[in-house]
């Protein structure tokens, strides 16, 4: 193969018109970018962070429920919750002879 044959081929191929982007190609790229954004930010911390307001409300409700139970039980039996639970565990849970 002659040396200038390759140079000629390069010269001819150089003249090929290059492709241009289709209209709206950037929309396709942005769609692909948006698809991968949530996948990247799905770590455990991010999930907890997203759930934070609900988790905080659930915890506050639980604390309020315990406090109200304490108040009701104290008023009803004139003993506090701790002594009530201790008495139940002594009578029922740790009873050696059963009922």
């Amino acid at each position: 193969m002659k040396k200038n044959r390759l140079e000629k081929l390069f010269h001819m191929a150089k003249g090929e018109s290059v492709h241009k982007a289709r209209t709206g190609f950037e929309i396709r790229v942005m769609r692909a970018i948006r698809q991968e954004v949530p996948a990247q930010s799905a770590s455990l911390l991010d999930q907890l962070n997203a759930l934070f307001p609900r988790l905080a409300l659930a915890c506050a409700m639980c604390i309020l429920l315990c406090l109200s139970a304490e108040v009701v039980l104290t008023n009803a039996s004139r003993t506090d919750l701790v002594s009530g639970v201790a008495s139940i565990s002594e009578d029922w849970l740790f009873a050696t002879k059963g009922f």
Binding site: R5, L9, F10, F25, V29, V37
Partner: protein
């Protein structure tokens, strides 16, 4: 109002994700022009350009602004092209003459008075001969001969040394000549079987 790339990048880093679309609009034609030398199929070419933009998006924090944004994008595109050529190389082991038209086969023949080829036919013939080259050699010779880039520019885009680029270009030419000779022989055989 038109803003420069640096301003757009600052806005994107501050959370204006949608402004990246403007960057895509500005640089998409450049990337198509770079990558169409390595992939002739339109659909695959669009995939390559999209992959380049995705990689740029993921690595946006690493862009330090010392070089123009387009240079940085071109470097990413070249890496995408090399990866693509590696994958394609595994798939195509044999030269496919069936893709060439009769004009190209005729041009390959020994007739020195033969006319020229259309740019598309020449590019197809060259693409076939390039299958003999390694992806790195293919990128160097394409940038040098088809894009008309200097050795210095190729070094910047590929991250290779001056010597490595020159050696690859030289090897690529030798292999291309050999590849064209092989195509010439195969073309003659094909013409013989037709008769």
């Amino acid at each position: 109002m038109a803003t420069d790339d640096a301003e757009l990048l600052a806005r994107i880093r501050n959370g204006a994700t949608d402004d990246f679309a403007e960057l895509v609009r500005r640089h998409q034609d450049h990337l198509f022009a770079v990558l169409c030398r390595y992939e002739r199929d339109r659909q695959k070419l669009e995939d390559l350009v999209q992959e380049t933009f995705l990689k740029a998006w993921r690595a946006l924090d690493q862009f330090d602004g010392r070089a123009p944004f387009q240079h940085w994008l071109t470097r990413i595109a070249i890496r995408v092209a090399i990866d693509h050529l590696r994958k394609e190389r595994r798939r195509h082991n044999e030269v496919g003459l069936e893709n060439l038209g009769p004009d190209a086969l005729e041009w390959l023949g020994d007739d020195p008075q033969g006319g020229g080829l259309e740019a598309r036919q020449a590019a197809e013939l060259l693409a076939l001969a390039m299958r003999e080259l390694s992806p790195a050699e293919q990128v160097v010779i394409t940038m040098q001969e088809l894009e008309g880039r200097s050795v210095k520019e190729i070094c910047q885009c590929t991250g290779s040394s001056n010597v490595a680029v020159r050696v690859r270009a030289m090897r690529a030419r030798t292999k291309l000549r050999r590849g064209l000779e092989r195509l010439q022989k195969a073309g003659r055989l094909r013409a013989g079987t037709r008769l």
